[in-house]
Amino acid sequence: MIPAEFEYEVAGSVDEAIELLGSREDAKLLAGGHSLIPAMKLRIARPGTLVDIGRIAGLSYVREDGDGIAIGALTRHQDVATSELLREHCGIVAHTAGEIGDPQVRHRGTIGGSVSHGDPASDLPGVLLTLDAELVATGPGGERRIAAADFFTGVFETALGPQDVLTEIRVPSLGGAGWAYLKFSRRAQDWATVGVAAVASNGGAKVGLVSMGATPLRASAVEQALASGADAAAAAEHADEGAEPSSDVAGSADYRRHLVRVLTRRALEQALSG
């Protein structure tokens, strides 16, 4: 419960955060702190410097932008979950934010922190991958947009460089498309044993998986089966193809493979019924 020694700096702006990340050894960004600080207390994480970006103004918002919705990286899960704009245009994101952790976590944790942490058991990354969302990062070279498909690279690893600050998450408006996010966990507050996101699209669906490998995954075989005319039940049988789930106290790999097929079928039924 006592972290190892670290330095602490408050960044007043994104530029200052980028500068601090570049000038300090083993610097880590601190936003809501609900993934990083527990890891530090267990001394699993030992950053040399914490760069607190929690006070940077203007990074907490949900707004329409072009044909999609832009979400500021410092927007707390609770604000994402209750955003009217998201509920109307991209309900799966609002719904999923409301499934994270417990009320205390949702009132402190941020969407940007959750996404850049790169935890394969995290709910939102799987949903963003399913939505083909874009992640906006600002670094020493300026701003760039990273496709969700390119963003999650490994367990706790992302495409963010050592001096990158994730500033915005951009998701599409779904119009009337059906969607579902099914989270299966032992307790309400737990990470997903398995999570499945589905969004109806062009008569088929896009499907994303949580806790089925080192990163969130797209269930491509399911998507292809649907595109070839398979029904939800038949398509869902392909849900674990290419997945490499781990075995832990929450469930064995075999069980996760079974579970992902059941949840995929249910998610598809829900999403495709509108």
């Binding site: 419960m1 032992r186 307790r187 309400a188 106290v249 469930g251 064995s252 069980y255 079974h258 579970l259």
Partner: protein, 778 residues
Amino acid sequence: MTAVGQSVLRKEDAKLLTGQGTYVDNLHPAGTVFVSIVRSPYAHARINGIDVSAAAAADGVVGVYTGADLESLWSGGLPCFWPVSDDIKLVKHLPLATDRARYAGDGVAVVVAETRVAAKDAAELVQVDYEPIPSVTDVEAAVADGAPLVHDDAPGNQAYTWELVTGDVDKVFADAAVTVKERYRQQRLIPTAMEPRGVLCEVNAAGDVTVITSTQGPHIMRTAYTLVLGIPEAKIRVIAPDVGGGFGSKLDVYAEDMIVIGLARKLGRPVKWTEERSEANVATIHGRDVIQEIELAATAEGKITGVRTRLRAAMGAYLQAVTPGVPLLGAWLYAGCYDVQAYDFHCTGVFTNTTPTDAYRGAGRPEATYAIERAIGALARQVGKSAVEIRRLNFIDSFPADIASGLQIDSGDYHAALDKGLEVLGYDAVLAEQADRRAANDRKQLGIGFSTYVEMCGLAPSRILGALRYGAGGWESLSVRVLPTGTVQVMSGTTPHGQGHATTFSQIVADRLGVEVSDVEFLSGDTAVVPTGMDTYGSRSLPVGGVALYHASEKVVAKAREIAAHQLEVAADDLDYEAGRFSVKGSPDKGMHVKEAAYVAWTAHNLPDGMEPGLEATYVYDPPNFSWPSGCHIAVVEVDTETGDVQLARYVAVDDIGNVINPMIVDGQVHGGIAQGVAQALWEEAVYDEDGNLLTGSLLNYLVPSAAELPSYELDRTVTPSPTNPLGVKGVGETGTIASTPAVVNAVLDALEPFGVTDIDMPTSPERVWRAIQEAKR
């Protein structure tokens, strides 16, 4: 209106809920130094050397000590107070291991520093040369041929054997028309009190030792500190301040207390240790971890005639305060509330390379209740009777009841509790819903599970404890003092760690002395204020301590009567007494209140000849019997037959705990107890990997449920007052935990009946349920 029987709001809560509670970690005497323990990461390892030089040189470090450095402080090691048998192996248990670490978490060195952070940082710098050796964490593997030995002087890892046999068991089984034999696994549990442990010790120049510790047992600790450290008991003051839960885990005598006290004496400075949560998961005792075999002999109709039980109970790496005795606390209960003729209980205690086990809420009785309540389900299936019919056929129905295992149940009415449970549940409607879902082959199947339990608590008659070789008595000491101005102090030998003693005990006194509940001040948890007591465990506070308080109050009333009679110039027998006031028979206007008698007793200007001044009394009560709560718990679960997910849909609990002092507090105890028992059925399990590492080392993976996982319970009561005490009360602290686990597992099995599943291990995780269905389909 009497106070007893009312849901008086808890006096404790204003302080606790506004953050004004005083826990050990809130206390920082000037000059305090902090302790961090270096613990073995290996389940079993020789300690070939410890290099403390880097740690000793670190900033803020006061000293670094190995087990060898401190061994002279505690040559006897930590005590086991319950050597249950002649064959017990009382293995040496030093507060810091010297030659060999025997479980992952065993302490091997200690760092003392000016700050908690410095102590923690320096502990990482202690270099221990471990030589890992083969380990064994599973109780059955530990008794297999060739298993690694946890202690060289305990061959076969056997700690002890103990048996209880009555009646002609072999004949009963030979004559039985039907027998069933079941095997159950009680998984290992981690108690998880909200406040982790902590201890702070100060020693003054006169050698007075004050220990402030998060304990259920300040009086037991005072004695234990003397036994281990050789400090004269009269020089030790133990304070249990506000204590944030214990569930038995804070009854134990722990290494860290000895380390802190020893170092405070050695260094002449206040020394403090506060447990971290992940540290608590390895360093505080665990519960259960028992393999049970139970056999029932019965007639063709399903009337049980005999019970035979074989246990293998994990002790862990050492014997803590009452580790060996925990199975004995359930030894009489393996026939449950059923009338049988012959009884055979046999237990083997087994050492494993794990955190020691000890008493955890229910201690022995949840295990027994689980075994018989599941076995009776197996019997019902075999003879083709329903869960309700088989129970009605076998209930003990005449009280007091001499049971086959040899004790006497004080009172009860098991049919009435079952009737009420079925009524609250609306059994027929739930059965109809279940039938519909089965007929429709619904993805979500309903299961209904019963647990009709009886337990023995209110520990305990001292003579019985003596016969069982327990190292202490079972009495309790309570004192009542009426101050000159009429308010009342209660000095209680039993001290709370969340139970609400201050409120409940005040209600008892208020009625006896005719004062307000708010006039009563409850004092406990400080051996300087309350020098004698037997502390808090085994649902004993009310049926032992509360009864002592009743008698102490009666002694005060008797003395006040003498004073009033003297003042009013009448014979004591000529006074009526009601609501605190004595009045002269026939002249009710002439009278005196107990409060007035207290003032008279204080001035002592005009007391009867030979009477001692002051109005106070102490009563030490030794109960003549255990108290025997009973009841009927019914769980309804919904099982997702595709995922294996189990949702607890409803929970009905009808408990008979005799008379009730404070219904709200009783409901709270039942609520918490049920949550803990349901947790064993559905979520909690301490898991070791093959190398003996605890995989469930934090609250991320040791699944303590929250309110989100539990339904609103439907509680009711039946009341058969205990005839063995004047309050008619029984204990309630453990009933919910004892009763609920088998109710839930029986419900899961009932839901899976269409698949032919008849057995499942706890916790009934989604994966286990799914696998049980897959195997049954094969």
